[in-house]
Symmetry: C2
Subunit: 345 residues, 2 copies
């Protein structure tokens, strides 16, 4: 977990921050913020001290994300992974709403899970003078962003941590969520439980597999090789994987899906089966509650993730946040029927 305070030095050079003003005036950061933003709740004497510190240090509020400057609208960029994945809909919208509240436009693009494309897109957005970047990383080396960060571009990673650089990251508790979902199936009597997930090089996929293994280990259930299948989320890969687990003399009695793209294919396969198989999926889906049985899921709060990330971004632009943090949001198990089915045999 990143802990250094290097960023403020590298990004702003010798430019004084609100923190410097607060230290010189002998007041808290919030007090400086109130004075700078013209908010109430500061005595005239304190305000005078803060103003003196501001002048002495030559502090200038970073308004880049707030105002029209040289006729240019402030903007932030969002690098997505897949435009067609519904998980990113509410996430994007939440980022956009925060941007809007700060007077900035949001511009998006998609890496299509390709590290080169992620880099190309992120740098293209920087070349188009975004003030900050929210990145859902496809790659695992983000040193290419260091010159941009030094030049003042705020950066927050989402869903997966940054590679080889210190940066804010906002993500779900993927490990804990998957472990809880699998433990839920075990609690309903299942022992032969399959896991179908995304490519293992993707952080979320690896974490969710780790959660599956932890739950199985907690219940002293040795995991057979044939019970886990990782790879692309294309139906052409997921369908035979699910069918293979459901066949043979000892088929799985329950399946845990590593994300919503896997879920849509697995529940299609299960609907075609002539026997009962329990199911829990990571990520919620529209209409999942209306299926019969309703689909039990480990839900992420995509909107909260987007909102938190965007707020971190504008916090950086305001000069308030200097230490990169890892913010992990809890998941929520939503029981609707499919995950509460007992084993068929």
């Amino acid at each position: 977990m990143p802990e250094t305070i290097r960023r403020s030095e590298s990004r702003y050079g010798n430019r004084p921050t609100m923190k410097d003003v607060a230290a010189r005036a002998g007041v808290g950061l919030k007090t400086v913020s109130r004075v700078v933003n013209g908010e109430p709740g500061v005595t005239p004497e304190t305000e005078r001290r803060v103003q003196e510190a501001i002048e002495a240090l030559g502090f200038r509020r970073n308004d880049s994300a707030r105002v029209l400057r040289k006729g240019r609208t402030a903007s932030i960029g969002l690098v997505l992974e897949d435009l067609a994945d519904p998980f990113y809909g509410p996430l994007s919208r939440a980022v956009e709403e925060v941007a809007r509240a700060h007077g900035a436009l949001l511009i998006n693009g998609s890496s299509a899970e390709d590290p080169d494309r992620e880099q190309e897109l992120a740098l293209a957005l920087c070349a188009r003078r975004v003030d900050g970047l929210v990145v859902i990383p496809a790659g695992d080396d983000h040193r290419y962003l260091e010159p941009e960060i030094k030049a003042g571009v705020a950066t927050v990673f989402v869903d997966r941590p940054a590679g080889k650089i210190d940066a804010d990251v906002v993500l779900s508790d993927n490990f804990g969520g998957a472990r809880d979902g699998v433990a839920h199936l075990i609690a309903h009597g299942h022992r032969r439980i399959g896991f179908i997930g995304d490519m293992p090089r993707i952080h979320t996929a690896a974490e969710r597999l780790r959660g599956y293994r932890a739950a199985m280990e907690d219940a002293d259930i040795p995991v057979r090789d044939s019970w886990t299948s990782l790879g692309v989320t294309d139906p052409a890969r997921v369908r035979p994987a699910a069918e293979a687990m459901l066949s043979g003399p000892e088929p799985v009695t329950a399946i845990f899906a590593g994300n919503n793209r896997v879920t849509v294919t697995v529940i299609r396969v299960l609907a075609e089966q002539n026997r009962r198989v329990a199911f829990v999926g990571f990520d919620d889906l529209e209409l999942a509650d209306l299926l019969q049985p309703g689909v039990t899921v480990v839900a992420q709060d995509a909107a909260a993730i987007g909102r938190t990330a965007a707020e971190r971004l504008f916090g950086q632009l305001d000069g308030n946040l200097v230490t990169p943090e890892r913010i992990e949001l809890p998941t929520r198990l939503i029981t609707r029927g499919s995950g509460e089915l007992p084993p068929a045999d």
Copy 2:
């Protein structure tokens, strides 16, 4: 429907186009395109004539969307209406794939159905030097784009036509699709059919309502005021609208939903009812086939719309397309059960 050829004059000024080269060389446009792009199938004599015309006219192929120029990656912009509407997922991805095939990046933004925000975003993308814009319009006056179009920004509208300017538009047959869907309900014995749609100022909403009215009129069924309800697609508006139609001494026996946002709420309401109500929705939804009954829909081909629009855009950038066109793609009725239920009474 726009038919003038003004665009080539206004956009490129006196710059010669492929069409001029073709006319001077006495060959077809495709032949010029082959020579310019170094494709086979042209005799040496014809190639010489085309090259002479190119030199005489000073024709220069517009490579802006293809190549790195001054270190800048070519890009096109996409102005969406709602980042969280799944209809735009495959549409965006299709636009992105065509952009990618042309060596250009796609950058997106959302108007959230606000005309001012659409304008702000479209102009912000132009200020960031996009080579072309695909716009899903929220507003009905796009004259603000005229200076950009004159400056050479290619422009294609999607889903709804441009207002007060001539421009390419790619959209579904909203009128015909809705008419077919409602006629399908009538063919299954329904006469009291409700229509719940989006705000009437939105082109697609108005066209689909027109399709509903046409089908009813074709069957000599007078439409009662209480059978139609238009407004925002928020569940808080759609739910009471559906419940009102389903109550009283003569409730509707079938409902047609104007788009997928309306559909998700109406099928929730229907699932809570203790009686059978037929349903057809405009736009398909993931999992709609797995509900019981399966949801009958009038499906648009969102990917084909995106692909067609993006190809028009790059056609404009290549100087091949000079006359704004309206391209209407057919919809497809997908019967899955809900639309084939007979009236309950």
